[in-house]
Point group: C2
Chain length 304, copies 2
């Protein structure tokens, strides 16, 4: 089924104990789009500056990602620089230059407006609403957000939350949104705000999915070397929505599988800088790791 992803396309400069990159391809739309492309051909909406190389867009196009919704504006591309410590959970942002992202006003190409599945990556909720307003055939929407918008744009964010099927937050954001410390209590409160599904990302500790009457918990995949966790959350979202879009059906079983698909793409994302690992794996390798995940979490019923 048709899948639309709206997010950032950016330059990232990243330092980790494993190396250093300079202005490589990054951004939430990039990671989510590439991860989704293992399952479905996504349509991508974002903005880049006049300094953005065509070769970067070609990398996405060659994966079957429709980049006709990536607007090119006069000016410089969104740029983020950060450093991770040996404990990759500790991240320091060194530079954030919004550049052309400041004037981002997503206008969907006409042929994108009938998309059935949509991932709204972490951008201003006012823009997320503009995207929702332009779509006329949505079946399932998942949106991401961050602490900044919870503080600064709560009203618009609440409207987004009331209009989507699933929200993706980390544990800190779930607590900020609700004032609840206990995650499943926070999840229940968010469900009352509208969405049918709340997904709480816990990084290396995996992910939890709550609906009104079910719960699914999935542990993190232990990878040998987290070279660069940048984009892991967006890669999760991309794998998740890409899998659902490829199935075309959202039910308890496909949702669980989509969590596994997203966890798998997120685990690969961390194994190299930028989207480098994605570019070096096949669908077969992805399927094999998802199979390992299943082996590593399944058990027979207790019997005593």
């Amino acid at each position: 089924m048709s899948l639309l992803i709206v997010g950032t396309v950016a330059f990232d400069s990243v330092e980790t104990p494993f190396g250093k990159t300079e202005r490589v391809l990054g951004g939430s739309g990039t990671f989510a789009g590439y991860a989704a492309s293992f399952f479905e051909r996504p349509r991508l909406v974002g903005v880049v500056g006049s300094d953005f190389p065509d070769t970067y867009l070609s990398i996405l196009e060659e994966r079957g990602i429709d980049v006709s919704g990536v607007e090119r504006k006069e000016g410089k591309t969104f740029f983020w620089a950060g450093r991770y410590e040996t404990d990759v959970n500790i991240r320091t942002t060194l530079i954030t230059e919004l550049n052309v992202l400041q004037e981002f006003d997503p206008v969907l190409p006409e042929n994108f407006r009938d998309s059935s599945f949509l991932f709204l990556a972490n951008i201003d909720p006012a823009l997320q609403l503009k995207v929702l307003d332009q779509c006329r055939n949505l079946e399932f929407v998942i949106a991401d957000t961050m602490n900044f918008w919870i503080d600064a744009s709560r009203e618009a964010l609440d409207e987004v939350i009331s209009r989507i099927g699933a929200i993706l937050v980390n544990d800190e954001e779930a607590r900020m949104l609700t004032g609840e410390t206990v995650l499943q209590k926070a999840a229940k409160k968010i469900l009352e705000m509208g969405p049918k599904i709340v997904i709480i990302k816990k990084g290396e500790h995996g992910v939890m999915m709550f609906t009104r009457d079910s719960f699914f918990a999935f542990p993190g995949y232990p990878i040998d070397e987290v070279k660069d966790p940048t984009g892991a959350g967006d890669s999760f979202a991309g794998g998740f929505i890409g899998y659902l879009a490829s199935k075309g059906t959202v039910n308890d079983e496909t949702l669980k599988q989509a969590i596994v698909a997203g966890s798998t793409t997120a685990s690969f994302c961390c194994e190299d800088f930028s989207i480098d690992k994605f570019r070096n794996i096949t669908s077969g390798e992805l399927l094999a790791r998802a199979g390992n995940f299943r082996e590593a979490t399944s058990f027979q019923p207790l019997d005593f």
Copy 2:
């Protein structure tokens, strides 16, 4: 199969946002023994002082726990007092009085020496070795330890680790033991020290089990209210070894089930002070929660 548990029997005074207890029944042997008693009738070895009420021992006896190995010494019982914050991961130890535990020298009753399954709770590794020396029929041993012994008694601890089937550590201890930050690398190094199984406890984030050729990850059960997490780790160990002892067979499948059994007993432990929750649940309730765990973690293979 016969199961022996060697650990502490203690008075605990605990403060949490949900309440306060004064000198209630605690200790690693108590929590592990009670948790194990859902599956098998454990034999318990420990020490208490002359101030220890018979009623506390009766509580254990009534569960079918053989307390004939709990020595009563002149003096005061081991006493621990602590406080948990709203984020129950933050714990402050207020008082630790070793009392009679200082002279604990575990001597196993003759009829305990043929035990096949053994849990060595967190005590001085020199004493853990003394227990191992007295057993003549062991099939499977799991031992717990802590940062204090890793620092202070490394040689004895290494000998313990070389003589057991499974070791139970938290993430910090796994890193201390090996100098490895990445948990699965730490686990591999510990496996090289002798045990066939390394179990890493991650508290609310669940548990990971590593063998030389397999990996099992299990998420934490989201309970609504963590009233008091004291004893959760020992309740995990008790449920784990109790389940294995009741099956009498240690293989990939029973090990996975034992992880689930332990996770289930640990989750109940946190729902009330001391062993109060255990005293109010049936085996049926335990089995039902383990079933919920399975529902909340199982999924069909990916298909794309």
